[in-house]
């Protein structure tokens, strides 16, 4: 009962406050930039050769402003946003008018989630296990070799690394496709053929993310393990003749992993922003490009839609970590 009153309720209050603040900031920032969605649309049409009669310009601007729902003051728009949100609606995208934001997100999100959930999980698990072992056996040759590899891979600019993978595996040896989330002409279905096709296309993008992400986890974990390794309880377990596999798993890695759990939660929460450079190099579908284009075009509703997901994602991840952390580390109490 006191847990509920003294910890959970204030924590939940904070949770919603953070979400509200985040959303409000994201609502305001695009409106503070000089990027006006109406002018962007006109610029886009003009830049792409559309004939816009000079005499009709005022009318077009008026019509677009009305269609985009940008007529009232910011306060009106802000109120309208919450009213819409209460109905689970983000409104229509300006740039993809009149496609609803919900639909744009719904089409892109499976790709992002499938790619990033998998790669984040794999690189975390693999990176931490290998990093943990490498930290425990840090004097062995293979540990030093892996450390050297991680050290060289990690600083490579992601773009260069991803493009190098592409050059190697899609051009020099042609094992994987060059571009796209699926083959040209493939229509989404639940057939095995389509799924196989999607998997085949996802290997290179996934590999690029896993290797780089894994290298980061590897290095961090190795460091944590080396620190844990010299803790008294590890020495004591050795003195007690505890078998090595138990020492590695339950004493060293189990303790060194604690800070990594927070890291995992945050990376999972950040998934909703997409992986823009991956999407660029591999022409892969996803939220990253959608968000980037929305920002560039001042597509307020679409920005709100994607960032709301992202904000809720990260905030929830933090909440979950805070609530569950005492289970991972019994020393930490709710406060």
């Amino acid at each position: 009962m006191t847990f509920l009153k003294r910890y959970l309720i204030p924590r939940l209050f904070q949770y919603f406050l953070v979400i509200w603040l985040g959303i409000t900031v994201v609502f305001l920032i695009p409106r503070l930039t000089p990027n006006d969605p109406v002018m962007r649309m006109i610029g886009e049409m003009r830049g792409r050769g559309s004939t816009l009669e000079p005499g009709a310009m005022d009318g077009i601007i008026r019509d677009l402003t009305q269609m985009y729902g940008l007529e009232g003051s910011w306060l009106d728009q802000y109120w309208a946003f919450w009213v819409r949100l209460a109905h689970g609606d983000f409104g229509v995208s300006f740039f993809q008018f009149p496609t609803p934001v919900n639909k744009l997100i719904a089409t892109a999100i499976p790709w992002t989630l499938a790619l990033l959930l998998t790669t984040t999980a794999i690189s975390w698990i693999v990176g931490n296990i290998i990093g943990g072992l490498a930290g425990y056996y840090s004097r062995k040759g293979w540990s030093r070799t892996l450390d050297a590899i991680a050290m060289v891979i990690r600083p490579l600019p992601y773009y260069i690394f991803a493009f190098s993978l592409l050059l190697l595996f899609a051009y020099v040896v042609r094992w994987f496709p060059i571009t796209g989330g699926a083959s040209l002409g493939a229509i989404p279905s639940l057939s095995w053929a389509y799924i196989k096709d999607v998997l085949w296309h996802s290997i290179l993008p996934a590999l690029s993310l896993i290797i780089l992400g894994g290298a980061v986890n590897f290095q961090t974990m190795k460091l944590f393990v080396q620190n844990t390794n010299s803790e008294s309880f590890v020495q004591y377990a050795k003195m007690g003749g505890v078998t090595e596999d138990r020492i590695v798993s339950k004493y060293v890695i189990r303790n060194a992993i604690l800070p990594q759990i927070t890291g995992l939660a945050l990376s999972l929460g950040q998934i909703f922003s997409g992986a823009l450079i991956t999407e660029i190099v591999f022409s892969y579908p996803g939220l990253g490009m959608l968000l980037y284009r929305a920002i560039i075009n001042g597509d307020y509703n679409l920005i709100m839609g994607i960032t709301l997901l992202s904000i809720v994602g990260i905030t929830t991840a933090i909440l979950v970590v805070d609530l569950t952390y005492p289970f991972f580390d019994p020393r930490v109490r709710y406060n």
Binding site: M41, Q96, G180, L184, G185
Partner: protein, 652 residues
């Protein structure tokens, strides 16, 4: 041979470096100039059949220029922006008229010929083509056009709504193949709203739209048009759209005019990254794409089967009717001063300028229309004598004749010094580099500035008349390969050398800042582009109309330089009252307009828009290259459909 191996090796090496192996020092160096011949590229067998439903031999794959389609299941082109180069404008739709940029002629598509205006320009009639059917089999008639205009005027969600409400009093079908427009005020250029350059007013299929309660929200999926191709399928993510040749292609204007299109399927595909896109083309997974200058060099140097528009340097497509250059904000000091604008023009060494911007491959134009299509013959050549005699007042009674006919030759020499090889005929030089430009005269520029109270400080940096350092912020977009950025980079370099603290300012919001006059200098077109067909310059000159000009802070409706003059207003008024099809009268007024523009220099015209098209001829040949320019060469232009009947399958 060893050189080619070197490049390959390097690419392999870079990929291996991903695995931690960096042996850069062992890589043999590549060469300086571009080779047209490339290494033999092995074509994997599986490429031919990887597409499954689309047999590769019968399929043409082109790149979407404008990126991933944001709303792939929405084809309602009359509302907002709909990625029309995904195949709608270039394959599935046919407008009343299109511009043939290769010849400067008008191609009548859904129309049978030119429109006829009443002498007072208060009405016009349009003859429609007979025997045309929509891709779902319904016949195309005058009722479709009338319905389109009525609908656009009824709903304010359509982009063209205001224009038609402002202009059209009534639209009627005289018979099944003739439509009459009654206008609200005289308009001698009303028909150009139907003239397809890269978007125009398209015609709705009445039998489909009339079933809809809200035609603005209607997604119009599947698309129905009168072009030779119909929608086959598309990626819900918008990365590709596939089109299939109509069985009744003979009922499309393309089929009627030019015969059967050759590719059975045409797919427009999206590539987010140019490097990836080049790899796709090298492996024959992409037939045609527009690239950046260096992307094209890379493609040509790596592939034996690829070619550019021109077989030799400058390789580029130079028949796009836009003039690029520098635009001054004449509402902001000191760019309101003609002397300053001319000083900045004369501070440019055009040889170095084009070498920075486009490696010397642009065609120069001294006036505010590009050197291509009908414009050299109609305007630039006739204006040579005037240009040579044109002088500017340097002060102290001194004058200076800025025109320089040696500029093209000097650019050609520069290109040869870079190792490029190309013909040395007068005809070629003129076509590739233009007729002339302005002298590099920093001393005259200095005099012009000093005449207006500018000074140089001890470090040789220019100060404004009030004694503060002169800074120029040159606004351009963030895509560095676009010509606004190319011009920005080149001009900034030239002005820096001249002693002005100039800097490139990249922004996504060029249009917003431009329209409200919040910039110094911009890389936006120095003048509105002409239609590209016929000698009429109304479209160019009208943007300088003082009626469109709004004060700084408000959105201007004319060109962003906010320049106008009484003389120009008079010319525009005269042109408006002239029959657009009366060539002699139109040209005479056009020349006067261009003279007024050159004299005042509200923007500096530099080189015509050039594009970098790369064709992989592994599956399809007979592209409209410079030696056989039967059509404009781009696949994203509306006229691409008129190229399809001329393509030849290699049977590979």
């Amino acid at each position: 041979m060893s050189k080619r191996m070197g490049r390959r090796e390097f690419m392999k090496l870079l990929s291996y470096s991903a695995g931690g192996v960096i042996l850069a020092a062992c890589v043999p160096g590549p060469q300086k100039s571009v080779e047209v011949e490339g290494p033999a590229t092995k074509v994997p067998e599986e490429v031919a059949d990887v597409l499954g439903t689309f047999p590769r031999r019968e399929t043409l794959i082109a790149r979407i220029l404008t990126g991933r389609v944001g709303s792939p299941d929405n084809f309602n082109e009359w509302v907002g922006w709909k990625w029309r180069d995904r195949g709608t404008q270039n394959l599935a739709n046919e407008p009343l008229w299109s511009v043939d940029f290769a010849t400067g002629n008008i191609i009548p598509g859904a129309a049978e010929g030119d429109p006829t205006y009443s002498p007072d320009f208060m009405s016009l009639t349009v003859p429609l083509r007979k025997g045309v059917a929509w891709s779902d089999g319904e016949p195309f008639t005058a009722a479709d056009l009338v319905y389109t205009i009525d609908t656009l005027m009824k709903y304010d969600g359509f982009s063209a709504h205001t224009f038609f409400v402002d202009n059209v009093a009534a639209v009627t079908a005289v018979d099944d193949y003739t439509v009459k427009f009654d206008l609200k005020q005289p308009n001698s250029r009303f028909h150009t709203t139907f003239l397809d350059r890269w978007g125009c007013t398209w015609i709705m299929p009445k039998h489909i739209f009339e079933k809809e309660t809200d035609p603005v929200q209607f997604a119009f999926n599947p698309y129905v048009g009168i072009g030779p191709y119909k929608l086959h399928s598309f990626d819900p993510q918008g990365s590709w759209t596939a089109w299939e040749k109509r069985e009744d292609w003979g009922k499309s204007p393309t089929g009627i005019l030019y015969g059967e299109p050759k590719p059975k399927y045409i797919i427009f595909q999206y590539f987010a990254d140019e490097g990836t896109q080049i790899l796709a083309q090298l492996t024959h997974q992409l037939d045609v794409a527009e690239l950046s200058a260096d992307g094209l060099k890379a493609l040509l140097s790596q592939s034996k089967t690829s070619r550019a528009y021109q077989p030799t340097f400058p390789f580029v497509v130079n028949n796009d009717p836009c003039i690029t250059g520098v635009l001054f904000n004449t509402a902001r000091k000191p760019f309101d001063n003609i002397d300053v604008r001319w000083a900045l023009t004369l501070a440019i060494d055009i040889v170095e300028y084009t070498s920075i911007a486009v490696d010397g491959s642009g065609t120069l134009s001294p006036v505010h229309v590009p050197h291509l299509g009908p414009y050299p013959a109609d305007y630039i050549k006739p204006m040579q004598e005037w240009l040579k005699s044109f002088t500017i007042d340097v002060g102290n009674g001194e004058t200076f004749a800025p025109y320089d006919t040696t500029a093209p030759k000097r650019i050609a020499d520069f290109a040869r010094s870079r190792g490029y090889i190309f013909p040395d005929t007068q005809e070629f030089l003129e076509q590739a580099f233009g007729l002339g430009w302005y002298k590099f005269a920093p001393e005259i520029a200095t005099k012009l500035l000093e005449k207006n109270g500018f000074k140089k400080d001890a470090d040789g940096k220019w100060l404004l008349p009030d004694g503060t350092p002169w800074k120029i912020s040159f606004m351009c977009g963030t895509v560095l390969s676009n010509h606004d950025a190319r011009n920005a980079a080149a001009a900034v370099q030239q002005w820096k050398k001249f002693g002005i603290d100039a800097e490139m300012y990249t922004t996504e919001n060029g249009d917003g800042l431009g329209a409200t006059g919040d910039f110094d200098v911009s890389g936006a077109w120095p003048a509105q582009e002409p239609w590209g067909a016929g000698p009429d310059l109304y479209r160019v000159l009208d943007r300088w109309n003082s009626a469109y000009k709004k004060p700084v802070g408000e959105r201007t409706q004319g060109i962003y330089s906010r320049w106008s003059s009484d003389a120009m207003d008079t010319i525009i008024k005269d042109l408006r009252e002239t029959d657009p099809f009366n060539n002699d009268a139109v040209i005479a007024l056009g020349i006067e307009g261009l003279k007024e523009a050159v004299t005042n220099m509200p923007g500096i015209p530099t080189y015509g828009y050039i594009g970098f098209v790369g064709w992989d001829e592994y599956y399809w040949t007979n592209w409209p290259g410079s030696e056989n320019p039967y059509n404009e060469p781009y696949t994203h232009w509306p006229n691409f459909k008129y190229t399809t009947p001329f393509l030849k399958s290699t049977g590979a």
